[in-house]
Amino acid sequence: MDYISQVLFVMCLLVAGYFLTKRINRIRKNIQLGKAEDRSDNPAERFKIMALIALGQKKMFDKPIVGLMHLVIYLGFIIINLEILEIILDGILGTHRLFAPYLGGLYIYLIIIFEFLAVGVIVTCVIFLIRRNILKIRRFWAYEITKWPRTDANIILITEILLMLAFLSWNASDSILQQREVGHYAGINAGPFAFSQWLMPLFTGWSDSAIMVYERFAWWFHILGILTFAIYVTYSKHLHIALAFPNTYFSKLAPKGKLQNMPVVTNEVKQMLGIPADPALETAPETPQPETPVEIGRFGAKDINDLTWKHLMDAYSCTECGRCTAACPANITGKKLSPRKIMMDTRDRMEEVGRSLEKGGPGLEDGKSLIDSYVTREELLACTTCNACVSACPVNINPLDIIIELRRYMAMEDAKVPGSWNAMFSNIENNMAPWKFSPSDRFNWADKLKETPQNGQ
């Protein structure tokens, strides 16, 4: 009997592992659709940022109460993994509470901590459900938060509640069986536990075998739920639980005001101005030129493959929390731009391309593109490059970078920007200032001053 359930359990693990690996590979391939970019410098600083932002949840505490609640779920998630380890080993080996004899008196304290967190998670998830669905916090009801993102968030919260309830009721039924000294439960003396003991009265009228059925049901429900959830997470905004770590590690280290340079453009401009394009080649003339000229990509980004892998990882790390959008001056004043939507669009486009490639379809060549099919030009034009979104994001996502790449495509490939921008461009080109003034008048401001005596006369 036990033997059958062990085989069954291992099969479940393998099936879940298969789907999970497949999904992780897909995500990796999707991210690799992006261009190369080196973000391996300064590991010490990068570790520090990751420790502060991802591990330490620093930015979550910009909103202290939400930060605290999020911390409970986060700790619950991490610490309960220990319990899951025991469950998995029990499942494979056909044992029951494998760790109990080894840990002795410590075991009960551990489970009490888990239960404490489980209750914390339940309470927090209930509050979060209320905030989303009853209080209707504005950033969860914006126009880009359509039915699916809303459902996704609710599915996650409800699943977490169910998983935690299964865990607690499993402990309760187990404790009763231990007390009644039924079968193999007899030898284990691990319960009752801090919180689940309050659930024990629910089972008092039940027969031993009924409780045993429930105990097994709760156990299986809990672990199968977790396995399913693990796969589900890869399709969900909840992927941030894993990607927040690499994503913060690879954060932009330069000051926020610095935009990425375009070396291809630098070379062309230097050629036009008659400046040696690459000083490295000048000092070392024997350096062989590459045989085939490096393929010059598009100027700026039209689609996801014109963005870098980091932009794409950003999109997969987005939790759709909307803190960026809530801080965006354009969005606050009713413009269509929402940095969160830029991230969601990028991710949706990646998923679309990935699905198509998986089926041997056209992938990127499907006649669509990130710009126009997903992000409209009106959105892109409204950005003031103020960095409020970048600064607000709890996992260091940079929506502005993507916006600028898309704008570069509009300005340099498509040459379609508002007429007043074109006028500004030609003013800069011809008058060396964005306004139509004569360059020779540039110093006129000083004329009056030169005649003014000092000391306020």
Partner: protein
């Protein structure tokens, strides 16, 4: 008092005389052409003169840094400007630059080095703060802003972009004024609406203009002076105050103007 006139030498003149300035004052397009911001340029030059700083300007040799072109997506035009400017600056062997424009500051500080332009660049807020700390600007405490309610609007390109939050506030603190903060300030500050080349086009349709939202926030503090440290913010907030028909009660000043006025320059 000695009726010497103000001195605004160009770098070319100075070099021709075999002299070298301690710093180059990068005026910027707004500082050169915008009527309102020209007053800021003049105020700053008066301070430099009064303190006896050995400075020069590029005058007609200065070009747009290219910031508006880059933010609008035209990296070609940006780099044309940047590289031309860098040639001029490197040609004169410029080492230290001060500017009253956060956009020029950001571009020269963060984006020029990759293109071969490496300078020590200081925004005028930091520069003024240093002069105050060194005792070279000695405010008597008092002056026309003593006890007045002043609120400071963070420029995105100084604040979030380059983490300069305290210098302008410390300059204001030296005025002995009553500093009040807006609801959104420092890292959480709200943009004036002009960055990212928005200055050079109509805003996209929405429910409100960004500068109006920001001005309302500034007015809500009850301040009679809105201090800024950026030409774009200056324009946007001045327009906002006009739009609210508050221009007689509430004034928008650059921090350099506040110092110059307090010093009666």
């Amino acid at each position: 008092m000695n009726p010497t006139t103000y001195n605004v030498p160009t770098l070319a003149e100075m070099i021709a005389e075999g002299k070298e300035p301690e710093i180059l004052f990068w005026v910027g397009c707004a500082g050169s052409f915008d009527d309102r911001y020209k007053a800021v340029t003049i105020a700053f030059v008066k301070i430099l003169n009064a303190v006896g700083i050995n400075f020069a300007v590029l005058g007609p040799e200065e070009n747009c840094t290219g910031d508006p072109a880059r933010r609008a997506g035209n990296d070609f035009l940006f780099q044309m400007q940047a590289i031309a400017n860098i040639q001029v600056l490197n040609g004169y062997n410029v080492k230290k630059i001060v500017t009253a424009c956060p956009h020029c500051f950001n571009t020269i500080k963060n984006e020029y080095p990759e293109l071969g332009g490496n300078y020590e660049i200081i925004h005028h807020s930091t520069f003024l703060q240093q002069l105050i700390n060194q005792g070279r600007i000695k405010l008597q405490g008092g002056g026309e802003f003593k006890g007045k309610r002043i609120t400071y609007h963070d420029s995105c390109y100084l604040g979030r972009a380059n983490k300069i939050y305290e210098a302008p506030r410390e300059v204001l603190a030296a005025l002995d004024a009553d500093l009040v903060e807006m609801k959104r300030s420092r890292a959480k500050g709200l943009c004036c609406g002009a960055g990212g080349s928005q200055m050079f086009k109509e805003a996209e349709p929405g429910s409100k203009e960004i500068n109006i939202e920001r001005t309302e926030e500034a007015l809500a503090t009850g301040a009679t002076v809105i201090a800024s440290a950026c030409p774009f913010c200056m324009t946007m907030l001045t327009d906002g105050v006009k739009n609210k028909e508050k221009e007689t009660q509430v004034k928008v000043y650059d921090i350099a103007e506040l110092i110059a006025r307090a010093e009666k320059l």
